[in-house]
Symmetry: C2
């Protein structure tokens, strides 16, 4: 890590201000980030929200002491949680995002011309507002006329929906507090009903290194509900362990067989996703394949290289 | 990060002892690890060496304040730096490791029955000795009769070798101090001469997120020396950014075309590597493909999925 410093950056060393991530319960490692200034910090109805300007990672959004995103690498998360399902579904007209109040997922969804309606269901209005104020590169998609925001509890929101969405994205925080229900079976059964008969769900599903019990438990019940399930990952340095994964839950379409590459070329320039990463991100290290029985990973089993 | 804690672990909270990684110059982020005790800490002729027993990552080897490895995830690094070249070469009889005094690379090499001779060239005898004392799961391969250790400067060592090795592994520290020469063109020209006419080199080549200038510079001169070059990566949470990459330099064999899968099944159980990861780890995110001209990544261009 020797490169990329200007003289100015190396001069700003009189005072060090560090943000240290607070994970509960502590896991024996933490991540510290050098901070220039606190842009905003307050308590909303649901959580403590902070936007920090860091020395090297751009702005950072922190919820209850946990890093939600940094401008440095959020593209690797948002491009992968969105374009993998949206380029697998042949005609995603109506898309729901649960969580994702920062807007990063919405920004990627509105790049798809086929999408006619996007619903965002975020419990905390303050997250959307803080993103609009300070994270314009993330919140840019909110102004798209196809986007409608609901400030509601995601688990309750999907209970009332039947056969409505082509794709649902669960862009949630870690399974702590209010987000716990988003990692449980009843929520997935409700989402199954909220999908059209050929719908797809992709969910934030933590790290293959640090959350193996959670991943195994979730894929076990998901694979009992959905016709096809799988797990894929992205490389995101500011998340614990540097990698984050996604559960892919599908009634019909298979991301390894049904990728519509032609539509990829209409999305404009992306920073992480490409059609090869789409497929190879389903290739998992031996230890996680050993942990998860093959029938939980029907999709991954179809990867041929 | 909610899981995996026993009552005992949660009880040991009266005193916190943290190791914080020291990277020079500072990059604006650091990694902290909860430590139970210092097993050993001393200054050798070349560097400060420490072995720490951590709370959650097993033992950790630290050189000059920088994490060399943790027992938790070293397999992801060592399996990938070794098995990718050794299963690409059809008959690797004589292998050289430069650096790698912890023994992890040697442990993986001696799993290959075809290998007749392994040379380890490590500048600092103290690293080998400390690994033998405290890291038996890493140093186990040193007792294999095919292994011979040379305590010499790696750059000087290869200067005197001509057409001798099938595979050379550069298992080095970061490009700081004595290791700087291991990231320079003259060293690669000397290694080219030290290889047999169909030889392969794989080198530790840092992170696609944090060391883009270094990766571009190295692949540029490597691709002027070697017939085929490429870049692949592994997921290693305790390294900065959570990912570390490798330069693949080859006179003849292509890891995407010449993988000998039959020999993989004779290696015994591995934790990270499998034949699919072998190939898909050459699939890189869009931002790094954009940074590196296609002729630097002739190997990666052959990936078809």
């Amino acid at each position: 890590m020797q490169e990329g410093f200007t003289e100015d950056e190396l001069r700003l060393t009189t005072m060090d201000l560090w943000f240290e991530e607070k994970l509960e319960p502590p896991v024996g490692t933490t991540f510290r980030v050098l901070v220039n200034r606190t842009i905003e910090r307050f308590r909303s109805e649901y959580q403590e929200i902070a936007v920090l300007e860091t020395e090297k990672l751009g702005k950072m959004l922190i919820l209850d002491g946990v890093i939600m995103l940094s401008e440095f690498d959020e593209f690797a998360y948002h491009e992968m949680i969105i374009h993998v399902p949206l380029l697998t579904h042949p005609n995603p007209k109506k898309v729901l995002v649960i969580g994702g109040g920062d807007g990063g997922s919405i920004r990627e969804i509105v790049k798809h011309k086929e999408v006619e309606e996007v619903h965002l269901c975020e419990i905390d209005r303050a997250v959307v507002e803080v993103s609009k104020r300070h994270l314009p590169t993330l919140s840019s998609g909110f102004s798209d006329p196809r986007v409608k925001i609901f400030y509601e509890d995601g688990a309750k929101f999907v209970k009332n929906k039947k056969g409505e969405y082509d794709v649902i994205i669960v862009d949630s925080t870690d399974p702590v507090g209010a987000a716990v229900v988003l990692f449980e079976e009843p929520f997935y059964r409700d989402m199954y009903e909220a999908l059209k008969p050929d719908g797809i769900i992709v969910s934030q599903c933590e790290s293959i290194y640090y959350h193996q019990d959670l991943i195994k438990r979730m894929l076990s019940f998901i694979s009992n509900i959905f016709e096809l399930t799988g797990y894929y990952y992205s490389l995101v340095p500011t998340y614990p362990s540097g990698t984050i994964g996604f559960a892919f839950c599908s009634k019909k379409y298979n991301p390894l067989k049904d990728l519509d590459e032609k539509r990829y070329y209409k999305l404009g320039k992306l920073k992480y996703y490409n059609p090869q990463i789409h497929k190879t991100s389903f290739c998992l290290p031996a230890f996680i394949r050993e942990l998860l029985p093959p029938d939980l990973l029907k999709i991954n089993n179809d990867l041929i290289v």
